[in-house]
Amino acid sequence: MSFSEADLAALWLTLRLASSVTFVLLLLGTPIAWWLARTNSWWKGPVASVVALPLVLPPTVLGFYLLMLMGPQGVIGQFTQSLGLGTLPFTFWGLVVASVLYSMPFVVQPIQNAIEALGNRPLEVAATLRAGPWDRFFSIVLPLARPGFITAAVLGFAHTVGEFGVVLMIGGNIPGETRVVSVQIYDHVEALDYGQAHTLSLLMIAFSFLVLLGLYGLQRKQASPMGKEH
């Protein structure tokens, strides 16, 4: 098994993309998950549905509309151009934006479930012990909902690594910029270079298997979640 320079570049790019997306998703997904877990608002259903849309939509639909929005004529495109940033499609950051939206449900849902399972009581207890809202989040929610956050991070990362359709729509196939592993495999197959395709594909299978194995192991270890002590 050996990787060409282009393969290594694709691997490195994939790693960079998945890490950036995971980081952004944890920052962005946590408040959304928090709100969804605790609100009684009428908006809960619609917002939860929008977040979950990528689960059922063909990636091409999401990619198509993002391309329109972020393109030179799109609302977002005009905005980024006015900031002097150019347009996002066919750039690394364009991929990040698209992947964040596409992987959102995989991050929001585990965190939301963990916060819902936590319930209101530990937060009330902390409040009676003089912990303010931020203090409560870091001293109670984060440690008690940690399995949910780890699951969210792993799923967000792995799902971004496995992306193909959205990447192709938004990023195209620019080496070092948008050509991630899944696209690289596609290229190898198109060129009938099955040997190279095998190498990368087997690596992806091994990676995915290990991620899921680790995740299920984690969930079994956390089989007795908090709040069930009485």
Partner: protein, 377 residues
């Protein structure tokens, strides 16, 4: 009302400290099932105040309003001169100097017992007095379990750690929401002695929610009876217990609480004489020394009435009393009779036929015969 533990009465009468609470809160879980809390209370700023009522009477909701965990539509709360809530401001829970003990153990499962205590200490505003930690830990008897996780502790142990944690925040008022309700009888008996010590050892007003008259009789100095979100009665413990217009609240448990002192022990007959402001009662010797203050409870069904003082009866305790009130009982055949003995009261539960037969009337002097006395503590 004056009681024989004069110290208590004096403290309550002269202390300028008090807790004032006014709340209106409406809640509708379903359109048909609405609940409204509407209370206006002035409570003593010291000692133990019990909020008593059936489930759904609003006692926990009232406690949560005091803690700031519920948002009443109208609220006014002042604790010993400090305003916590008014028309113009409302302190969030984490800014209210209170301790709260929840019904079920509420320890943080990711921290050890010691870690749970440290969580409170880290967040107190006042510096921790040198001996407070050791005092709290030893009073609650948790020295040996400090390094355990909540999941390794029994229900009673968890609740003791939770009480210790609430004390270490150095609260201005300690709120307890049925801290024994989730425990079985044996565990309750395990915790009660710890609770009893609190008022004497820590100078903190305690508001204690309970639906158990036994607990209230044992722990409280002052009592508020809630019914359907409204205050049905409030006053000193002895006064509220001696009311006979609340049979639906107390039912079978209707009866008075008296506070007395052991003044004599009869080793031969194994009896102790308890003295009250208004008389003496002989009870089974509990092992308490002369001079020990005790609380007893006399149920209405254990008190009968005789018109004359006769010696040919097995009843040891006979007290001359005056009938001050006659009220219907829940049972159609029975009535409740309130008897004044000096400054104390007794309640007798008699059949209507006996009342007619003896021609009992308000103002009449009779002999109250006490068949049985329960030592509360």
């Amino acid at each position: 009302m004056a009681t024989t533990i004069h110290q208590n009465a004096v403290e309550q009468d002269t202390a300028p400290q008090k807790i004032q609470a006014r709340f209106i809160l409406k809640r509708s879980d379903t359109p048909r099932n609405t609940f409204e809390l509407d209370v206006n209370l002035t409570l003593p700023g010291g000692g133990v105040t019990a909020l008593f009522g059936a489930s759904g009477s609003g006692k926990t909701t009232l406690l949560r309003c005091i803690a700031g965990l519920e948002k009443p539509s109208q609220g006014f709360l002042s604790i010993n001169g400090q305003s916590w809530q008014s028309a113009t401001h409302c302190l969030p829970t984490h800014r209210r100097p209170l301790g709260y003990v929840f019904q079920e153990a509420s320890l943080f499962p990711h921290l050890t017992a010691k870690g749970n205590l440290a969580y409170a200490i880290k967040r107190t505003h006042a510096p921790l007095p040198a001996d407070l930690y050791d005092k709290v830990v030893s009073v609650m008897g948790i020295e040996t379990i400090l390094n355990q996780r909540p999941s390794q502790l029994s229900g009673g142990e968890r609740q003791r750690v939770a009480i210790a944690r609430a004390l270490l925040i150095q609260p201005g008022v300690l709120l307890m929401d049925e801290p024994l309700a989730a425990l079985d009888t044996a565990r309750k008996q395990e915790i009660l002695p710890y609770l009893e010590q609190l008022p004497a050892l820590f100078d903190i007003p305690i508001i204690y929610v309970s639906h158990s008259l036994d607990e209230v009789a044992r722990l409280a100095d002052h009592m508020v009876v809630l019914e359907q979100g409204k205050v049905a009665a409030q006053g000193s413990l002895t006064e509220v217990f001696s009311r006979i217009d609340l049979p639906s609240r107390f039912g079978d448990q209707t009866g008075v609480v008296l506070k007395g002192i052991v003044t004599e022990r009869d080793a031969h007959w194994h009896l102790s004489r308890l003295s009250f402001a208004s008389g003496d009662l002989w009870v089974s010797d509990s092992g308490d020394e002369v001079g020990q203050p005790l609380r007893i409870r006399i149920l209405a069904r254990d008190v009968s009435i005789a018109l004359s003082h006769h010696e040919d009866s097995s009843i040891t305790n006979r007290i001359l009393a005056e009938i001050t009130e006659i009220a219907p009982d829940l049972d159609e055949a029975m009535v409740l009779i309130r008897l004044k003995v000096g400054t104390d009261y007794l309640i007798a539960r008699l059949t209507k036929r006996s009342v007619a037969h003896l021609q009992l009337a308000i103002g009449q002097k009779v002999w109250a015969q006490v068949k049985s006395v329960a030592l509360v503590r």
